[in-house]
Symmetry: C2
Subunit: 155 residues, 2 copies
């Protein structure tokens, strides 16, 4: 009797291909000067787009879009409530087996800080920047260096 | 109650990071002029070496070695009997969910042909070359073009 456990497959696939990320964008309109976003994503070549539909169906949130730049498709969850209510509890219940688990843990601390509004004040945002830069390089799209972010924050 | 199913995790991880490959090496000592090898492998960055130990422990065969060229570690099974008795039945029992399944199916046809000794005669080897080149590019280390291989075979 072959049993298959989709939750465990998801963990294995995300251990290989998933990404928990924190990104920063300069926003002069915000008091702290920076917008923080967290996301969970899985990218695949075009030929594997169908498997992303399985992942989307499984989590019942997020969306799939094409990245023409590198001919890939990306499943991504960016909505903070969906990340908090769906993605976070899933990976708490089913921990990753690779070192990506450390990134998930750091990411989940940031997610909670955002949920509590800490990213809207300079002290909280500085803590978030520190955590983001402690993550593996893939976990953070390095548009700015840490020094640049702190400079924007302090200006 | 959190259940976790290691077999399904392995399938998900291999869907992301695994590789079923067929490779050819010129061997003037062989009648057909070419040696064929098939292998199953999973590569990871150094920081994830520990997860490869889990995979090795799970399959109870193969070995792990460092690739200094790109700073990765590779778990690899190359022994034809281990591939045939362990790797092949596992992925028959637990099919992959990505298009990598197609590569696995092509690979498993080649594996059986090798097991039956078809790689030792020109007709069988030609069939193997055709199948190998129908696989996704990652499935075959393209040291030679298909034309070069056929030329070696015919010479």
């Amino acid at each position: 009797m072959n049993k298959f456990h989709l939750e465990s497959w998801i963990v294995g696939f995300v251990d290989g291909e998933g990404c928990f990320s924190i990104s920063f964008t300069r926003r002069n309109g915000l008091k702290v000067g920076l917008e923080v976003r967290s996301s969970f994503s899985v990218s695949q070549n075009t030929r594997n787009k169908q498997v992303l539909l399985k992942v989307e169906e499984f989590f019942c949130c997020g969306s799939i879009r094409e990245s023409k730049r590198d001919n890939t498709w990306k499943y991504e969850v960016r909505n903070i409530d969906e990340l908090y209510k769906t993605i976070l509890p899933f990976f708490r219940k089913y921990p990753l087996l690779t070192n990506k688990q450390r990134d998930f843990e750091a990411w989940s601390v940031v997610l909670q800080k955002i949920k509590q509004g800490h990213h809207l004040n300079p002290e909280g945002l500085k803590e978030i920047i520190d955590i983001a830069f402690s993550m593996n390089s893939k976990g953070y799209s390095r548009k700015y260096t840490k020094e640049e972010l702190l400079q924007i924050l302090e200006s």
